[in-house]
Symmetry: C2
Subunit: 262 residues, 2 copies
């Protein structure tokens, strides 16, 4: 009938993404699509909660009985960890979560999926991280999650660079990697960019090189543009590339697994 839509009803399980601001998030259209594709009657909606309201409002939102789970984005990944009754190993290491799922026992479980999305993207492309020499640029939120997830794959080495050397050292200590004074592609099999350098109209590269060895696998966490300056150089040099959008897809798949199985 034309007086009703077919994608939401009283039986639909509700999910949310909580952030401030909220309008720019992509989870509503992408996670809803993935849940629907798997046959779940579910929708993920934006939930704009202000920082002053977060601690008072979020525990109450969790009491909606048909709420299946929440995704957390800026600036709430650290504060959200306090909402979880149980927390995954990588999230515990980093002290942040980006998803809460309702366990079959009714308890809320938290975990972080940014980094797992990166590992999943590699897995889907059949590129092993185990035993490889990995160079990671960027030790912020995304970089930290990627470092923790990649470390779990047992690379032979994981070097971490950040313009904030203290931050890179702290992350290296947490995940069992080493700090690098500068990004390099010498003795590196896999180069990961988790800095914002190259985002949108930024034409810069995150490291000072004019060419990349063709044996290198180059990953960029940036989603927009899909072809960053780093990836464009990698393609021109004959390297294998893994894109930010593949990490996003991997993350969405892992989150939906979590929402329906945790």
């Amino acid at each position: 009938m034309d007086d009703q839509v077919d994608y939401v009803s009283g039986k639909t399980r509700v999910f949310g993404i909580v952030g401030d601001p909220i309008e720019q998030v992509r989870s509503p259209e992408m996670i809803t699509a993935e849940m629907t594709r798997r046959g779940h009657d579910a929708v993920l909606v934006p939930m704009h909660v202000l920082p002053d309201d977060f601690d008072d409002v979020l525990p109450r939102i969790l009491r909606m009985r048909n709420l299946g789970g929440l995704v957390f984005t800026i600036p709430y990944k650290a504060r959200a960890a306090a909402l979880a009754a149980e927390i995954g190993a990588q999230a515990r290491m980093l002290g942040v979560i980006n998803a809460l799922g309702r366990g079959q026992d009714g308890r809320w479980r938290g975990d972080i999926f940014d980094g797992l999305g990166c590992v999943e993207a590699f897995r889907r492309r059949g590129i092993a991280l185990a035993g490889k020499r990995v160079m990671l640029m960027g030790a912020g939120g995304a970089g930290s999650a990627i470092a923790a997830a990649v470390a779990g794959e047992r690379p032979s080495s994981l070097r971490i660079f950040d313009v904030d050397a203290a931050r890179a050292r702290a992350l290296a200590a947490k995940v069992g990697g080493t700090h690098a004074d500068a990004p390099t592609v010498d003795d590196v099999d896999i180069l990961l960019n988790a800095t914002p350098v190259g985002m949108l109209d930024d034409a810069r590269l995150p490291l000072a090189v004019e060419a990349l060895p063709p044996r290198l696998v180059v990953f960029d966490a940036i989603v927009k543009p899909e072809m960053t300056p780093l990836l464009a150089l990698a393609v021109a040099c004959g390297c294998t590339t893994v894109r930010g959008r593949e990490m996003m897809r991997g993350q969405i798949a892992k989150m939906v697994d979590f929402f329906y199985a945790c």
Copy 2:
């Protein structure tokens, strides 16, 4: 793209229907359809809140900045009134609301739309209530809202029957009608059924008649079945009929007006 849906994004304004139970509600598919038809980027989702949680949870849900409004169903129409900073005249008379809308000044306004939906259904059909002799059967939640809204149309008389005579008397006193000891079609222009008699597989009529005068306009608030025993008799007798689904459409239109203009 097939990895995203087109009906929800970070910019989508979120609405909810709050009740217990929640799975049977029709507002998600119907109100979402009406908002979308009018060009609004909006979705209404079910929110299952338990009675023990209501007073603690609802004020916090209202602090979601992108929440446009809430609909309330069983058992919350009375308790929801306390959430409104301002309340409409009919809702104040009845002490119940079934919708909260966020005013442009940020204050939450409450009103009741069941009865306005009935009046709107008559207006759409070009049938005046002003100056008419109205007989209403049923003085429960739906009947009360219909009585208040119909009274506002200035019928020449409004007689109210309920199997609970005290309830009928109290409602008649509130809305300026009169109590009837039994339902009748004598000296009646418009007969309104707001009792559950005739719902689903109930083959009974809400009043003891074998025929109806063809000059009568007969309305039934029941939505399922669309053709109740009362309406079937009315059609057989040549009466004009107005159906529950028309009231529902009228109510939805009035609610969406309210959400976007209150």
